[in-house]
């Protein structure tokens, strides 16, 4: 019986086990059919070798060999990170006019100030320059959501505690201050001012705005709005009557008329000289009140001024660089500020921050409490009166966190969790390991990319969230963004460990994570190092993912 074609094929390749090969060889001597088959199989193999090895096939020119970029040494990497951190810290110090206190964590409010500022700047840039690509409607909605989100966040926070609200307000105000272009160049021009005498029975939503470059579109609500007013414009003036609440976002907001409800405004400049029956919540770089507020006045900004003519029926809570209170306030004043000058009167006054001055005309009906660093920061004019207690609480120099055992415990927990996360992620997605990002240039690129990704993802999410379909997408991208921020330092740790041990193992990852956690806990520059590492790590994630998708997979070292 003839062997199968398969057997003949293996035989022709000389790969049959010896005993079987002998059998087949014997058979071939007697069988012409099989012997012809084997022969043709062998010629076929030769032909295939010839066809495949045909040199003409590779007519391509030999490209010049580019040796791999020299991996950056750990010392240089560390110096680079520290250098960037120091430069960054100095520049933010100059930009925002205050020093970052040491030992801030990445997620603390002040660093968010920076992020909010950056995000708003970038958003306003995108909004102003994206007119070609994005339709007017989408832009409008994007701006409304952005403003709404900011206001909602502020309002929510303010409900909790005055001081937290003040901090948040300062943060928002700085964000607004740092972005003069924020004031909404929404290109929805048709809807506009409400002339005097005209009455709107419902809630009015208006946004002014001209074509790009034509920023001076102002919005004047001179008529009467029976419902709420939601207004967005470059200059929003409410000179008529709004019976409900006012929610306004703009560059300049002036309220000279009457408002029956609460006023919530975010702008660069807010002036209220009219009458507000509810409370006022304002976030702006300059907030000026010379009108009447029946309930509470809550303001955050660079400068908050309550002029002599102003009346506040409730409490005043202000968080700002400078707060000047010239009027009489029925209830209490809470101020967290760089400087507070009180010329008018109030019941209790609680201050926390830099300097507080009670001018000769100041009258404190209740207690005066100041939380300051030094006693000399409280100046009370002899002519000023304080009916209750005068308490000066010196903020005790907080005992160094480095002296507490719990601090080390939590840092160890941090190392372990990051290590485990890294192990799991790199096990599940080995291609994510930043094995191809090793040269100084690569890391420089990663830093830039990280910056762009950190800023653009939330903005993109907000814009996408404007469409119903986009909401899950936006949520997903925000989750990814947060995950990326957490993963960022693990990426850097992987690199540090790999460079240190010359190979990538669980041990090297642990060492890298430990070093990174130590670095971000360094006094003074730790928080900024943390920020720089975050940029680098997020950039590394983006780069690796990009290479994975467009240039073939990431490589593991052989």
């Amino acid at each position: 019986m003839c062997p199968t074609e398969f057997k003949c094929s293996v035989f022709a390749d000389g790969e049959l086990p010896e005993a079987e090969a002998r059998e087949v060889a014997m058979h071939l001597e007697t069988c012409a059919v099989c012997s012809a088959l084997v022969e043709s199989l062998q010629s076929e193999s030769r032909m295939l070798v010839q066809c495949l090895q045909d040199v003409d096939f590779a007519e391509e020119a030999v490209p010049a060999f580019q040796s791999a970029p020299e991996p950056i040494s750990l010392l240089r990497f560390a110096l680079g990170v520290i250098g960037a951190a120091v430069a960054f810290r100095l520049s933010t110090g100059i930009l925002f006019g205050f020093e970052l206190p040491p030992g801030l964590e990445w997620l603390n409010p002040r660093e968010w100030v920076l992020n909010v500022g950056i995000a708003i700047n970038a958003a306003s840039y995108a909004i102003q320059n994206g007119s070609v690509a994005v339709s007017d409607a989408i832009q409008t909605i994007a701006v409304v959501s952005l403003g709404g989100l900011l206001l909602a966040g502020m309002a929510r926070a303010l409900k909790r505690t005055a001081s937290f609200g003040a901090v948040l307000s300062v943060m928002m105000a700085i964000g607004l201050f740092s972005s003069p272009g924020y004031a909404i160049d929404v290109r929805k021009g048709a809807a506009s001012s409400l002339p005097a005498g005209e009455v709107v029975d419902d809630t009015l939503v208006v946004n002014a705005g001209g074509k790009s470059g034509e920023l001076n579109k102002d919005l004047n609500i001179a008529g009467t709005v029976k419902g709420d007013l939601i207004a967005i414009g470059d200059i929003v003036t409410v000179s008529g009557t709004v019976e409900g609440n006012v929610l306004a976002v703009g560059r300049r907001i002036e309220i000279t008329g009457n408002v029956g409800g609460t006023v919530i405004v975010a702008a660069q400049n807010v002036t209220i000289s009219g009458k507000v029956a509810g409370s006022v919540i304002a976030g702006a770089s300059i907030v000026t009140l010379s009108g009447e507020v029946a309930r509470n006045f809550i303001a955050g900004g660079g400068n908050v001024e309550l002029r002599k003519a102003a009346l506040v029926g409730g409490n005043v809570a202000a968080g700002a660089g400078e707060v000047v209170i010239d009027n009489d306030i029925q209830k209490d004043v809470f101020a967290g500020a760089g400087m507070l000058s009180l010329r008018g009167s109030a019941r209790n006054v609680t201050f926390g921050g830099g300097q507080v001055s009670l001018m000769p005309t100041a009258r404190v009906g209740g207690d005066f409490t100041a939380h300051v660093q030094k006693e000399t920061n409280v100046r009370v004019d002899p002519a000023a009166t304080i009916s209750g207690m005068k308490l000066i609480k010196l903020n005790p120099k907080a005992p160094s966190k480095y002296a507490r055992a719990s601090y080390y415990f939590w840092q160890i927990v941090r190392v372990i969790t990051a290590f485990i996360t890294g192990l799991i992620v790199f096990r599940l997605a080995p291609w994510l390991a930043p094995t191809r990002i090793s040269s100084g240039l690569d890391w420089l690129k990663a830093g830039g990319l990280g910056f762009v990704a950190l800023v653009s993802i939330p903005i993109a999410a907000i814009i996408v969230a404007c469409t119903v379909v986009g909401i899950p997408l936006a949520l997903a991208s925000v989750v990814l963004w947060l995950a990326g921020i957490y993963m960022a330092k693990i990426m850097v740790a992987e690199f540090v460990g790999r460079t240190l041990f010359k190979k990538s193992t669980a041990m090297s990852l642990l060492a890298g994570v430990a070093l990174v956690v130590i670095a971000v806990n360094l006094p003074v520059v730790g928080s900024v190092i943390s920020f720089v590492l975050c940029l680098l790590g997020v950039g590394a994630i983006v780069m690796t993912a990009y290479r994975m998708t467009s240039r073939g997979p990431a490589l593991v070292d052989a």
């Binding site: 398969f6 000389g14 295939l48 070798v49 066809c51 495949l52 045909d54 997979p553 490589l555």
Partner: protein, 183 residues
Amino acid sequence: MVAVETLKPSEQDFEDIYKTQYRRVFSLCRYLLNSTERAEDAAHEVFLRVHTKLDSYNPALPLSTWLLKIASNYCIDVLRRRGTEQRIFNLDPGEAFDPPSTGVSPLAEVLAAERGKDVRAALNALSEKYRVPLVLAYYNELDYEQIGEILGVERTQVAVLIFRGKQQLRQRLHDERMRMQGR
């Protein structure tokens, strides 16, 4: 080149090795990855590795064998990473050993392909599972044992893969010829 193959190559020889062997390595990568662009990247990566591993080269082996082995390992790694299926070269349970003949005779079809171009086109149309073993067998000229080592499969499995691969190749060439004649 011969001199290079008998001596342990030093750093200076690398440039020569690169110039003389690049095309060989590139062609292999192109066969295995089935993409010119990816082959360029892969060839570059392979030479980066060769560059760093030059010291570990055993001059007893022919240089080209060593290079092609690095390139094959690298490309198969790439294929594994790209695909969702890690064990791309394993036989399905239904694929019997000692597969039946298909009736399309060997040789004739290959010979009928006037130039290597048709054969290469047919080869590139095969799935990775069959393309890779054929390339290793006929471009690298490795035996079943060596192919099995690279692919991480048994020798007997290599025999089946190559046999089936050749059958598919013949079938494709046959169909193509019928199509051309039918025109």
